[in-house]
């Protein structure tokens, strides 16, 4: 039984999200970071690189001095004294300016180490014409979807990264929680449970595991049915997406995204 219930996935996602709350989406920036950047780039960037990842002088993003620094207490002495034996001059900055440089450098380390703050971009490499052909052809998307129906304006509703994921498997996921996004839940699967007595129950599938089925019947009532001795058939609207996950190529994925991006 390959159907994965949505509920445990959501629980898992939220639970892991709380663990990674120490990562999470970026906090509102400290104004000293931008002030520090304005000092750093012209004064230090020539040797350390404008993003502090190093050129002729060391990478400061992973620097032990920077990572141990608190508000400039380690960085300050290096900046004020320089490292003459290694060719770094001394800089006569004020304590405020040193705090600002330190804030900028800390923001660089934070940006590198917090992967949920990374920006995903550059997705639109596919060919919209090929994507349209896939949509109406091999991909069989048009069996259930229409660019003038349910997918009208789809590109206005989702960012490219989310559209690319959802065209394969349209369900909220871990990354939505981590990046603070809302994502539409899929329509429920329909389940029919034939009991040992021969009677059937049907409804929207809420949960299924080895031991029980939970469905919502036509009147809106939740029914919990022990699984033993029953026959279960599930009509999962995402079945075609489950299959797509295993078969779609990267090229087809990029092309279909390019086509869907035209549906603004």
């Amino acid at each position: 039984m390959r159907l994965t219930t949505f509920f445990p996935a959501a629980v898992a996602a939220v639970s892991v999200a709380t663990a990674f709350a120490q990562f999470g989406p970026t906090k509102p920036p400290d104004p000293r970071v931008e002030l520090g950047r304005k000092i750093f780039v012209p004064a230090c960037g020539f040797c350390h690189g404008p993003d502090a990842t190093g050129k002729s002088a060391p990478d400061l993003v992973r620097s032990s001095v920077v990572l141990h620094d608190e508000n400039g207490d380690q960085i300050g002495p290096v900046v004020l004294n320089g490292r003459p034996e290694r060719g770094m001059p001394a800089f006569n900055y004020t304590p405020e300016q040193i705090e600002e440089i330190a804030a900028f450098l800390h923001s660089r380390a934070e940006a590198a180490s917090n992967r949920f703050s990374y920006t995903i971009s550059g997705l639109l490499t596919g060919n919209a014409g090929a994507g349209k052909a896939f949509f109406f052809g091999e991909g069989k998307c048009s069996t259930c979807h229409s660019p003038t129906g349910d997918l009208e304006h789809i590109a206005a509703r989702y960012e490219p990264v989310d559209l690319q994921r959802r065209l394969i498997y349209p369900a909220p996921t871990f990354m939505d929680y981590m990046t603070g996004k809302k994502s539409k839940t899929p329509p429920p699967a329909k389940v029919t449970v034939t009991l040992p007595s021969g009677t059937s129950e049907t409804g929207n599938l809420e949960h299924i595991d080895e031991f029980k089925i939970v469905l919502k019947d036509a009147s809106g009532q939740h029914r919990v049915i022990p699984r033993e001795g029953t026959t279960v058939t599930i009509d999962d609207p995402l079945a075609a997406h489950q299959s797509l996950m295993a078969h779609i190529t990267d090229q087809q994925m990029h092309d279909t995204l390019a086509y869907l991006e035209t549906l603004k």
């Binding site: 994965t4 639970s15 709380t18 920006t119 595991d209 990267d250």
Partner: protein, 530 residues
């Protein structure tokens, strides 16, 4: 008469002297019966118990004996779940979550003491447990202090730093006691730190040896990195507990994946000794052999999964074997004396390789590396399996693990110099399947859907395999057929590895489920005796 009473006096004295030591280190290697004295129960990593009192014919009578709920830990949510495998020694259970160690009475669940370490800014994600040697416990704090506690009352004997948390190291693993060595590993993949394994003196905490996952310039393996900068920031964390063969006197450890995690171009080459199973001398740290299960990994698939040791027939001859169900989706079988490769087989459908090379290593397909516009890969960065303990049942001859057929889209995000993760992946689905692998052929004998991956496994001579599903059930399974023979709803999902032990002739089964430790046993009237 006087001679026997003298001998009696000497024996009594010897017993009294030894009784002062709760856990002599030479007891750790025995198959776990009255004790579960180390993370995997014994040194083999099989998580197989010889106990038969609970068996397929009476498992339906199992009842809950006690529940212990953690409180006042200061750690909420996912990080505070019990992921540690408790130790059971002399009727006391010792277990941990980040910043916290508890001792509870194994028969009653009553708390004996609770130690709290001051909270820190280090990443809190989980703790796999404590180690024990003599009367002392050993615990890695999230900010990478190695702390030795008195097992009687949880008081601190000493603490020694084993890594610098400011460099984004964080520590979670359960150390391994081998003779007079305490083997400790480290974690921390956010900012390209070098990984290593250390041996510490269990009396003082001082370093005995230090083995680097990345070679130094000029050392063997350095030719698999393009330059010193990438090699000295290459990652490769040792965040899970390894195994040990006392006859060969070798420890076996899986190393983590290289950094920057998703950036291939920054570190062209196989990147040794990341993603490798290594055999080291526990006395010197010298490497005897290695086998790299994921050359040049770019998907966050470490190889820290338990290297399980067993002696069994392979192609007609009994051999000293080592098996790993690896995060990258492949099962590996090696000769643990020499490192000779014996078998590689996928245990999920993967899409990232160009096949296997002549050494049985998967050849990564460059087209399936993370990319700016996204690459669809099976498995996701979570892996086809993860830290959840596997088990090997010598009676069925099968290797069991909780696996996941999952996909995600991998993105490369680094602009300019790649550092840290340099990308991330977008998960498409979650799934979980308990799989039984025939180690001789790699064939998957049977599969049992469990919904999601979240816990480890235990097998017993009672003909039972214990697992948890993602619907809050503890399940007893026939190891030969995969059929469920018993289950009970515990309301929460299992989050650690189940253990079993015998006290006063009664067999207990203890599982961790989020913030509760729960013990099961047969009702007293049916238990005990032959």
């Amino acid at each position: 008469m006087r001679l026997t009473s003298a001998i009696g006096a000497i024996l009594s004295f010897a017993l009294w002297f030894c009784a002062g030591q709760q856990l002599p280190s030479n007891q750790i290697g025995q198959p776990p019966v009255t004790m579960w004295p180390t993370y995997n129960g014994d040194y083999s990593g099989r998580r197989f118990s010889p106990l038969k009192e609970i068996n397929a014919s009476n498992v339906a009578s199992l009842e809950k004996v006690w529940t212990y709920r953690t409180s006042n830990s200061g750690v909420n949510g996912f990080a505070g779940w019990i992921k540690s495998t408790p130790l059971e020694v002399n009727g006391t259970l010792y277990f941990s979550i980040p910043d916290n160690v508890w001792a509870i009475d194994a028969r009653t669940g009553r708390e004996l003491w609770h130690y709290k370490y001051p909270p820190s800014k280090a990443i809190h994600i989980g703790s796999r447990g404590v180690a024990m040697w003599g009367d002392w416990l050993y615990f890695e704090s999230p900010d990478c202090n190695l702390i030795s506690l008195n097992a009687k009352d949880g008081s601190v004997r000493w603490q020694k730093p084993i890594a610098d948390p400011k460099l984004e190291y964080f520590c979670t693993m359960s150390p391994l006691v081998v003779k007079n060595h305490l083997i400790v590993g480290v974690g921390g993949d956010s900012l390209d730190n070098p990984g290593y394994l250390e041996s510490r003196d269990p009396e003082t905490g001082d370093a005995q040896w230090h083995w680097n996952v990345e070679p130094k310039p000029g050392e063997p393996g350095s030719e698999t990195w393009p330059d010193i900068e990438s090699m000295s920031h290459g990652g490769g964390m040792t965040w899970m507990t390894g195994t040990y063969d006392p006859e060969l006197n070798l420890i076996y450890w899986g190393t983590g994946n290289p950094n920057p995690v998703h950036a291939s171009a920054a570190r062209k080459g196989d990147n040794l000794w990341t993603c490798s199973i290594v055999a080291l001398s526990p006395d010197t740290g010298k490497m005897a052999w290695y086998y790299q299960v994921s050359p040049h990994d770019t998907h966050d698939w470490d190889a820290v999964q338990t290297p399980v040791l067993f002696d069994a027939p392979f192609k007609g001859k009994t051999r000293k074997l080592l098996a790993q169900g690896s995060r990258n989706g492949y099962f590996f079988l090696l000769d643990r004396a020499t490192g000779e490769h014996l078998l590689t087989a996928p245990f999920i459908d993967t899409n990232w390789t160009l096949g296997l090379n002549s050494k049985g290593q998967p050849i990564p397909n460059p087209k399936k590396e993370p990319s700016r516009d996204g690459t669809l890969v099976a498995p996701s960065s979570n892996g086809a399996t993860n830290w959840f303990a596997p088990t090997f049942d010598p009676e069925s001859g099968l290797f069991y693990l909780n696996a996941s057929q999952n996909w995600s889209i991998f993105y490369l995000t680094a602009e300019g110099k790649a550092e840290g993760f340099a990308g991330r992946d977008d998960f498409l689905n979650f799934s979980g399947t308990l799989e039984a692998i025939d180690y001789q052929t790699g064939e998957i004998r049977w599969k049992h859907d469990i919904g999601g991956m979240g816990s480890g496994l235990l097998s017993t001579a009672g003909g039972l395999l214990f697992d948890g599903d993602s619907s809050g059930n503890l399940i007893g399974i026939d190891p030969k057929t995969g059929k469920t023979v018993w289950h009970t709803s515990i309301g929460q999902n299992l989050t650690n590895g189940p253990i079993t032990f015998e006290l006063d002739g009664r067999q207990y089964l203890v599982v961790g489920a989020t913030n509760a430790l729960i013990a099961f046993a047969l009702p007293q009237s049916k238990s005990g005796g032959d």
